[in-house]
Amino acid sequence: MSAVTIIPPAGEAAATTEPKRRWNGLILPAVLILLWEGASQSGLVDDRLLPSLGTVAGRGWSELADGRLAVDIASSLARDVSGFAIGSALGIPVGLALGLSRTLDRFVGPTFNAAKQIAVFAWIPLISVWFGVGEAAKIAFIALAAFTPVVVNTWAGARSVPRTLGEVADVLALSRWQRLTRLEIPSALPSIFVGLQLGLIYSWLATVGAEYFMTIGPGIGGLMTEGREHFHMDLVILGVLLLGGIGLGLNKLAALMETSALRWKRY
């Protein structure tokens, strides 16, 4: 199990939980925001280059009011989630197969490792030829982005099932299926979750990428592209905030799922 363990911050780091100190983290953002606001209010910086917070908030509100923002967010999220679901639904079995079968590991593993070296965005031109530039292409690309880290980590987890526990399964004469469900999957699970979390991060990155490159249909990427083309900095900043916020939310959700699935690791 040593393959994936959380090493908690050591030494003094552990002491940072004092509630008073937590607020310190807000000081720097607050100062930056004040500077920003001051610069744009005072007219020191071109308002078009650095719109005030109020402008960004106003833009957010008006986009929200005419319903467009909700459509963009929902479209991006739906794409992200479908691609991620497909990618991990394929990635987990493939990773398990690679990790549990010596033959697959030997014969297919190196090919996978070579193919994963192709930076994922390099697939976009090919995917857009194969799938067009519509929804199917975007989802295919997002799925591919999620697939790779899920396979890599599931594979590593499945390969490092402790030999000592494998012997227990031998002695108890477990069937192939029992071995898989009682030993191999639970043992690989922490690693699988790392893969899923990375997959989530990559699929969100890929969602943005897909929306930039295949600019048909609503989405946050499209919103930002439009903002850039028309020099609407407020729209672009709104997009950045949305990307960060949603990315953070997705990660939190994944972490929550992980803690509930890995209860035995808490002790």
Binding site: V168, D170, V171, P186, W264
Partner: protein, 261 residues
């Protein structure tokens, strides 16, 4: 069935390659264990005791010689042989009761029956209150008791134990020794126990196998007559203990008796 569980080990050799050198872990082991017999194995660290158990249980089939169970050559682990490993080897993601139930996964018993067996065996090792705990919440000795329950739960013909009580306090140890002896006797289980505790070996064993290291081999086999095994305070018990210790010392690399071997 009384004739189940005859174990015959004939001229078994086992070698390992360690860093390019050949280590003879077992050398010419000959041992017959009758059904229902309890054999204790003692010997210095590294003399091949665990290796011997691994061969008997069928985890390692790469050896020379023959190991026969009821006259048949072993072809891998089966449920009629159970082992308690030197380390507890519980599945950390399963609760205590599910770990014990692992032993019954392959059994055809109905589910309620299985649950009852699990409960009984947890009670036997005194861990009923911890049925729902995860292994990481147990102490070393508690974990070892769960492992014992897991091995006993499907009533094997042959039970192999690798220092099962090493991590226990004296009281629990004495209690479990007595329980083990009772179960093994009443069920007619054939047992092989590896231990460093000579008194334990005498108390539980019908015979004591003394092994010497490098190469791992059987130095002598001492019978324990029923009377002296029962009473730890008797002089025959003390005498046997001396004999075993002397036998051990003769093969112990750190002791002067080595020259005599």
């Amino acid at each position: 069935m009384p004739d189940q569980g005859t174990l015959e080990i004939r001229n078994v050799f086992k070698r390992f390659e360690v860093a390019g050198r050949t280590v003879e872990a077992l050398s010419g082991i000959d041992l017959s264990v009758a059904p229902g017999e309890f054999v204790s194995v003692v010997g210095a660290s590294g003399c091949g005791k665990s290796t011997l158990l691994r061969l008997i249980v069928g985890l390692d089939r790469d050896y020379d010689g023959e190991i026969l169970l009821d006259g048949r050559r072993l072809a891998g682990p089966t449920l009629d042989r159970a082992i308690v490993f030197q380390e507890h080897r519980l599945f950390p993601w399963l609760r205590v009761e599910d770990n014990v139930a692992l032993g019954l996964l392959k059994s055809a018993l109905p589910a309620p029956e299985k649950r009852k067996l699990v409960r009984e065996h947890l009670e036997l090792v005194g861990l009923s209150a911890f049925a729902g705990a995860y292994p990481a919440q147990l102490s070393g000795g508690m974990s070892q008791r769960v492992a014992i329950a897991r091995a006993l739960v499907n009533r094997p013909d042959i039970l192999l134990l690798d220092e099962p009580f090493g991590a226990l306090d004296a009281l629990t140890r004495a209690y479990l020794q007595a329980e083990l002896r009772r179960i093994v006797r009443s069920e007619g289980i054939t047992a092989v126990l590896v231990t460093h505790d000579v008194e334990e070996a005498i108390f539980l064993g019908d015979r004591i196998v003394v092994m010497h290291p490098r190469p791992g081999r059987i130095a002598e086999i001492l019978p324990v007559d029923a009377a002296s095994g029962q009473d730890r305070a008797s002089t025959s018990f003390a005498h046997l203990r001396e004999t075993v210790l002397t036998g051990l010392g003769a093969g112990h690399p750190a002791l002067p008796g080595r020259l005599a071997a």
